[in-house]
C-alpha cells in the first residue's frame, strides 16, 4: 500500500515546524556576551540584555527569551492597532500627562457594541432574565429537537470556558489598578455583555449546520459567512469568518490555554512555594491531563471537571459571601467607596473614563461577551427556537461577571487588599499577581481557604482549557477541514507546556490580544445581522407571552 503524503502532512508539518524552530534556537552559538558592548553579538546580546545580564542564558530560559521576543514584536504591531488610543484624536496637544485619558479602540468597540445591543433589543438582559432562568431549569426542554445537549448543559460548557483565572486573578488586578470604582464598571459591563451574548448566541443557533449524523456545527464563523451571504455581502462575511477563526485559534493557544496554565501555576505557587523551582513539572502534568483527553480519548476526567465547575462556582461565591458577612458592618462604606471611586477615582489618572476602561476590559476578558466564542457551545443546544438559546446564553455574563467577578472585587475591597500598605501586598500589586492577591485576601479571612482556592483554580483552568480546545478545534476544522484536527491537538498541547515554562508576559499578552481581537469581526458582523435577531426575538416573545410553548412540570 502506498503511503499517502497528504494524509499526515498537517500533523508532520506542525510538529516539524515546532521542533525545527526549537532546534534552531537551541543550536545557535551560546556565547552570549553579558555586556553587550560588541555590536556583532547582535540579537543574542539584545536578548541577554533584557534578562538578567549577569547570568548567561541557557536551555529553556534562552528559548523562552527568543519566543518572548518574537511575540513582543508581533504584539507591538497588532497592539498598536487594537489598543489605538481613540481619545488622542480629540486631545489638545497642550494637555498635561496627568489628565490624559486613554481609550483603547478595542474597549471602545466593546462598549459601543454591547450598549447598542442592549438598547436595540429593548433591554432583553433585564426583561428576558426570568424566562432565561426557567429555560435553563429545563421547563422548556424538548428532547426531540435537533441538537446535542440540553440548555443547562450548553450553559455549563460555555461557563466552563469563561469562568477561569479572569474571575479570580483578572479582577484582583483590575481593582488594584483601577481602584474600587472598577467594580461598578465591571458590573455594568457584565449587564451590557448579557445582551451581546444573547444576540451572538441566537445567531449561533440560527445559522448552525446540522450534519447527516446529527452533529451540530455552529458559531461566529458560520453566522458571519452564512448570515452575511444572505444579506448579499458574502465575500465580506466569508472574510470576517476566516479572520474570526484565525484569531480564535490564536486565542485558544493563548488566553484559553497558556495563560490559564501560567496564571493557575502562579496561584498554586502562592500556596505551595516549593513549586517555583519545578514549574515544568506542573506544565508536564497539565499537558498529560489535557493530552489524555483530547488525544487519548479518556473523556471522563474532562466530563467530571466540567460538571464540577458549577459546584465550584457555588463554593467560591459562598466563601466570598461568608467573608462579606464577617465584615458586614463595613459593607455600606465599601459600597459608598465603590460608587464614589467609580466616578471620581482618587488613585487613577484619567478619571471616570480611565476606571471604566479598566473595568470593561477585565469584564470582557472574563465573560467573552462580544467576542463570539460562546456561540460555538450554545449552537449545540437542543431547540428549534434560536432566541430561546440566546436567552440561556445571557445568563453566562450574569453568573460570570455580575456574580463571580463582583464577589472577588468585593472581597478585595472589603479586606482592604487593594490598598493594604503591608509590603507583601504592595509587592503582589506591583507584580500584578492577581491570583496571589485574592488567595491572600480570602485565606486571611477564612483560614485554610487558600487550599480550597488552589484546587478551584486548577479546576477552573483545566475546564477552561478543555472548552477552549473545543472552540479552537472547531475553528481549525472550519479553516482546514475536519480531518486536520490531530495537528491542532498537538499544537494545543505544546502551548499547554509552554504556558508553564514561559514566565514572559508577551506570550500572555498575545493570548489577550487574540481574544479581544475576535470582537472586531464578530461585533461588526453581529451589528449587521442584528435586525434578524430582533425579528427572531419579537416572534418568539409574542408566542411565549401568548402561552404557546408547553411547559414541563
Amino acid at each position: 500500500m502506498k503511503i499517502h503524503p497528504f494524509k499526515t502532512a498537517p500533523v508532520i508539518l506542525g510538529c516539524l515546524l515546532f521542533f525545527v524552530s526549537v532546534a534552531a534556537l537551541w543550536a545557535q552559538p551560546s556565547n552570549e556576551d553579558p555586556q553587550p558592548a560588541n555590536a556583532s553579538a547582535g540579537e543574542n546580546a539584545e536578548t541577554a540584555g533584557k534578562e538578567d545580564a549577569k547570568k548567561p542564558l541557557t536551555g529553556m530560559r534562552r528559548i523562552e527569551g527568543k519566543v518572548d521576543d518574537a511575540f513582543a514584536k508581533f504584539n507591538e504591531k497588532v497592539g498598536e492597532v487594537m489598543f489605538y488610543d481613540v481619545a488622542s484624536l480629540f486631545r489638545d496637544e497642550g494637555v498635561e500627562d496627568e489628565d490624559k485619558v486613554v481609550v483603547p479602540l478595542a474597549v471602545l468597540w466593546l462598549v459601543m457594541g454591547t450598549l447598542f445591543f442592549t438598547v436595540y433589543m429593548g433591554f432583553i438582559n433585564i426583561r428576558g432574565f426570568k424566562h432565561a432562568v426557567m429555560i435553563t431549569a429545563g421547563r422548556f426542554d424538548s428532547p426531540e429537537d435537533a441538537g446535542e445537549v440540553t440548555h443547562f448543559q450548553a450553559l455549563t460548557a460555555a461557563l466552563s470556558a469563561t469562568v477561569g483565572l479572569g474571575n479570580i486573578a483578572g479582577v484582583a488586578i483590575a481593582v488594584s489598578i483601577g481602584g474600587p470604582g472598577a467594580t461598578l464598571w465591571m458590573i455594568v459591563a457584565g449587564m451590557l455583555g448579557m445582551s451581546a451574548k444573547f444576540v451572538e448566541c441566537t445567531l449561533g443557533q440560527k445559522y448552525r449546520e446540522v450534519r447527516p449524523d446529527g452533529r451540530v456545527m455552529g458559531g461566529a464563523m458560520y453566522y458571519l459567512s452564512k448570515g452575511l451571504t444572505e444579506m448579499g455581502i458574502g465575500p465580506i462575511g466569508k472574510a470576517l469568518a476566516i479572520v474570526f477563526a484565525v484569531l480564535c485559534v490564536g486565542g485558544s493557544f493563548g488566553g484559553g490555554n497558556a495563560f490559564q496554565v501560567n496564571q493557575s501555576l502562579d496561584a498554586v505557587q502562592a500556596t505551595i512555594p516549593a513549586l517555583a523551582n519545578y514549574r515544568w513539572v506542573y506544565g508536564l502534568v497539565m499537558t498529560v491531563m489535557v493530552g489524555i483527553v483530547i488525544i487519548g480519548g479518556i473523556r471522563r476526567i474532562a466530563t467530571t471537571a466540567e460538571k464540577i465547575v458549577p459546584l465550584m462556582c457555588g463554593v467560591y461565591v459562598l466563601a466570598a459571601l461568608a467573608i462579606l458577612l464577617m465584615n458586614v458592618t463595613e459593607i455600606p462604606a465599601a459600597f459608598a467607596l465603590i460608587l464614589s471611586e467609580a466616578f471620581a477615582p482618587s488613585a487613577l489618572k484619567g478619571g471616570a473614563i480611565g476606571v471604566l476602561v479598566v473595568g470593561f476590559q477585565r469584564a470582557a476578558f472574563s465573560n467573552e461577551a462580544g467576542v463570539g466564542s460562546a456561540a460555538i457551545a450554545h449552537a449545540a443546544a437542543k431547540t428549534d427556537y434560536p432566541a430561546r438559546e440566546g436567552l440561556v446564553a445571557l445568563l453566562g455574563p450574569f453568573i460570570d461577571t455580575v456574580v463571580i467577578c463582583t464577589m472577588t472585587a468585593l472581597v478585595i475591597v472589603i479586606t482592604g487588599a487593594w490598598d493594604n500598605p503591608d509590603p507583601a501586598y504592595v509587592a503582589m500589586r506591583t507584580a500584578k499577581e492577581g491570583a496571589a492577591l485574592t488567595s491572600h485576601a480570602m485565606g486571611g479571612a477564612i483560614p485554610g481557604f487558600q487550599y480550597v482556592l488552589a484546587v478551584a483554580v486548577i479546576l477552573f483552568a483545566y475546564s477552561t482549557m478543555i472548552s477552549w480546545s473545543y472552540y479552537g478545534e472547531r475553528c481549525w476544522a472550519y479553516l482546514f477541514g475536519d480531518r486536520a484536527s490531530m495537528s491542532y491537538r498537538i499544537i494545543f498541547l505544546v502551548f499547554v507546556f509552554l504556558g508553564s515554562i514561559v514566565s514572559a508576559t508577551n506570550v500572555l499578552d498575545f493570548g489577550d490580544l487574540m481574544i479581544l481581537g475576535m470582537a472586531f469581526p464578530n461585533i461588526l458582523g453581529v451589528v449587521l445581522l442584528a435586525p434578524k435577531v430582533k425579528a427572531e426575538l419579537k416572534d418568539y416573545w409574542t408566542r411565549y407571552k401568548a402561552g404557546e410553548f408547553p411547559q414541563n412540570k
Partner: protein, 146 residues
Amino acid sequence: MSWLPKKKVVVPVDFSGESEHSIAVALELVADPSELYLVHVLFPLDNVSPGVLLGDMTDEKRAEAVRDSFDKLLQQLGVTGVNIEVLFGKPGLEVAEYAARIGADLIAIPSHGYDGVTRLLLGSVAERVIRHAECSVLVLRRSDAE
C-alpha cells in the same frame, strides 16, 4: 473494464447535491438496486465538544442518524432495495477498504471536494480512493463543473 452491468458498485455518499447525481448514475450501471452499496464515512467522535462531554452523543447514535438520513434521501429519490453502510475513519481509505472487503467491481465517486489551499494540503477524497482502491474507480464530473 466493460460497460456491461456491474455486480457490485460502491457509492460514497456525503449527502450533498452531488450524491444524488452519483446515485442516479450508479443505478444505471447495475442490473438491480440490490447491487448498489451506498457508504457514508464518519470521522471519529471528538473528545471535547459539549455533546460528547456533557450530552449523550455516541458513535452508535451518529450511525443511527446517518441511517435515518439515508432513508430520507432514498425516499426522496424514490429508490428502494439498495444497501447502506456507515463506516468510521478516514473517508478515502475506508471506502477503498470497504470495496475490497465486499469484493466490489467499481467505486463511483463525485470529484467535488475541497478547493484552494485546503485541497493542496489535504487532497480530495476521490484522489485517496483512486490511490487505495483495488477495483476500478469511476470519477464523476461534478454537475456544476464548467
